[in-house]
């Protein structure tokens, strides 16, 4: 079994009186595509945000690459952040910069490579995610929804992270683009040895590329494991989420 990359243990999260997580635990292993699933408001995005240190759980611990993210010093936290890339749901490209500049920012800030090599790397990343080469000069407002996601993925991959967080990467894309995006993520995982944590609703994505997942519901973990393992569980949320018996996934 591959070593553990992320381990969340007994996470409790509340916003005011509203409890989101009640002792949620999950484990992500190296080189797998791991999904956080659940209905709207089940706290899957919050769990992702806690893993990337944008939010802090009320109690419980999260270890990423073996380090407890709650007790990191500023320097350690910065170091850890450079080991992962995050693709936000809306892309979150800096709108005042072109796609190329969005990616260049990370190289200029964190490496001392010469400008022509940086330019080469940017072209490479843009090509890698399947954007046309002229996209380098475009501003985010000039891109279509699918291109924004790809550009954001290129930015997330800039520093060759070992861990990639994707927040609903296929939402808002047409079915064909979604499948292409899935294929791209799987290819990157295979070739770059990435570990991918993905928040999604897309049953096709779950079916095609996700290795293991955790299904959140009623503030708790309903099920964890591979699709086939989970489909054997009798639970109304499992049935509902995978639309068993209708046109959804059959075991």
């Amino acid at each position: 079994m591959n070593p553990i990359v992320i381990e969340a243990h007994n996470i409790v999260t509340s916003f005011g009186d509203n409890r989101i997580h009640d002792n949620v635990s999950c484990t992500v292993r190296e080189n797998e595509i791991y999904a956080l699933l659940g209905g709207s408001g089940s706290g899957k995005s919050t769990l992702l945000r806690e893993m990337i240190m944008l939010e802090t759980p009320a109690s419980g611990s999260i270890h990423v690459f073996g380090e407890n993210i709650a007790n990191l010093s500023l320097v350690e936290a910065q170091k850890l952040r450079r080991k992962w890339g995050v693709l936000f749901q809306s892309g979150a490209l800096y709108s005042s910069l072109t796609v190329g500049e969005n990616i260049a920012l990370l190289y200029k800030e964190y490496t001392d490579l010469p400008p022509n090599l940086i330019h080469e790397l940017i072209k490479l990343k843009i090509d890698l995610v399947g954007l046309p080469s002229h996209a380098i000069h475009l501003y985010p407002s000039e891109l279509s929804g699918g291109m924004v996601k790809r550009a954001a993925l290129a930015r997330a991959l800039a520093l060759d992270p070992k861990l990639l967080f994707l927040d609903e990467p296929t939402s808002g894309l047409d079915p064909l683009s979604s499948r292409q995006f899935d294929a791209l993520i799987r290819q990157l995982r295979d070739l770059l040895g990435l570990t991918v944590v993905i928040v999604t609703h897309d049953l096709d994505t779950i079916h095609h590329i996700v290795d293991r997942f955790v299904l959140l519901g009623e503030k708790k973990v309903i099920a964890q494991g591979t699709l086939n393992e989970v489909l054997t569980i009798k639970h109304p949320i499992v049935d509902y989420f995978f639309q068993k018996g209708t046109h959804g996934i059959q075991s």
Binding site: S95, S96, Y107, Y110, T111, D112, L113, P114, N116, L117, E120, L121, K123, L124, K125, D127, L128, S133, H134, I136, H137, Y139, P140, S141, L159, D160, Q187, L191, L192
Partner: protein, 372 residues
């Protein structure tokens, strides 16, 4: 050999080729020195990259080979890579599945073009503003014929936020203006022994000119910018589109309540500023030239004809319309990127302040010509 935590490059010139022996960690953070060596390297022989000793490789290493191989090729020297491990070659093929093309950045236009473009945009901008004004007034006429469409609740909420909440800042600024004017005049007037004229000075200049102007400028900065930002944010989140599809005319719901609220509030704020400003002057007159409060007020009743006060107040609604319309107009111009909201908020405040000053100048000329 260097420690394996760095990238190392050893160049050996053979009889027919130069062998670049690469070793160590060829990754993003350790490649800067190698890149520097290659940057200054002058190719004289065909190049062979021997990568069999590389411990670690990422996209930066691959990009480096490709970048410099292309450069050497351009200089007339072929280069090839030998001894690649399977996973390294796989990475190479993933990153360079086909030859890359370089797209030049879009051409920068010349100064004359930019000037022409800017002028054209400016003239077009005036057209758009007139268009906006036209539609706003058409909506107003409709609204007046259908009084139930007037948004009373919205008007009253804007009266509170744009008017009542602005009282402290108006009080402070007008008090300070009163103080400043009094201070400067006292010094000059004392030279002529005409201390008592300080009352005329403060009374007329504040009520007629300064209080309306300062109030309008503060409100332009405070509420004009808020109007632009509010409407701009609604535009970005598609709330404006949602309103349109539900048949709520955005001008009726967003523009007129703000305009009307400001028209009601601004004259009242000017009146408030008059009182506080004169009070500020009174305090200075008392401390600097020992003019008692009762004396000041007694003198003021004679020295300040009511027309100055009325002129000051009448300017209020005019300024209000200018501020509210530029604020809302700029809000509707915000496009879908986050930067434009800041851009148009700045424009809105700058335009509003300019228009207020221009309108004030117009009043000044007009009223003087009319001998008022």
């Amino acid at each position: 050999m260097k420690s394996s935590s760095h990238a190392a490059l050893e160049i050996i010139n053979d009889t027919s080729k130069a062998v670049f022996t690469c070793s160590g960690k060829w990754t993003l953070n350790s490649l800067a020195n190698v890149a520097m060596i290659l940057e200054s390297y002058q190719a004289v022989l065909p190049i062979v990259w021997d990568i069999s000793n590389i411990a670690e490789l990422d996209s930066a290493g691959v990009a480096l080979w490709n970048l410099y191989s292309r450069r050497f090729k351009k200089e007339g020297f072929a280069s090839k890579i030998i001894g690649g491990k399977k996973e390294h070659l796989r990475l190479y093929r993933l990153l360079y599945p086909h030859p890359q093309e370089d797209t030049p950045p879009p051409k920068q236009q010349g100064g004359l073009y930019t000037l022409g473009r800017k002028t054209h945009d400016y003239v077009q901008g005036i057209g758009y503003f007139l268009d906006f004004l036209g539609e706003v007034f058409v909506v107003l006429l409709y609204s007046l014929r259908h009084p139930f469409t007037i948004r009373y609740r919205s008007i009253s909420s804007h009266i509170i936020t744009a008017g009542f909440d602005a009282l402290p800042i108006i009080a402070v600024s007008s008090f300070l203006i009163g103080v400043v004017v009094a201070f400067q005049s006292v010094v000059q007037l004392q030279k002529f022994g005409a201390d008592i004229l300080i009352v005329d000075m403060i009374g007329i200049s504040l009520t007629r000119e300064l209080a309306p102007l300062i109030t309008a400028i503060v409100i332009a900065g405070r509420s004009g910018s808020a109007f632009t930002a509010q409407i701009g944010a609604m535009k970005m989140t598609q709330e404006i589109d949602a309103m349109k599809t539900m048949g709520f005319h955005p001008y009726l719901f967003l523009v007129w309540p703000r305009v009307i609220a400001l028209m009601i509030v601004l004259p009242l704020l000017i009146f408030f500023a008059d009182i506080i400003g004169i009070f500020g002057g009174m305090v200075i007159a008392n401390t600097q030239s020992h003019l008692s409060y009762t004396e000041f007020i007694h003198r003021l009743q004679g020295a300040l004809p009511i027309k100055h006060f009325i002129i000051g107040i009448v300017k209020g609604p005019f300024f209000a319309v200018l501020i509210a319309l530029t604020g809302t107009y700029r809000g509707f111009q915000v496009s879908s990127n986050t930067e434009s909201i800041g851009q148009y908020t700045t424009k809105s405040v700058v335009n509003a302040i300019f228009l207020v000053i221009a309108c004030d100048a117009l009043f000044s000329v007009l009223l003087t010509e009319l001998k008022l």
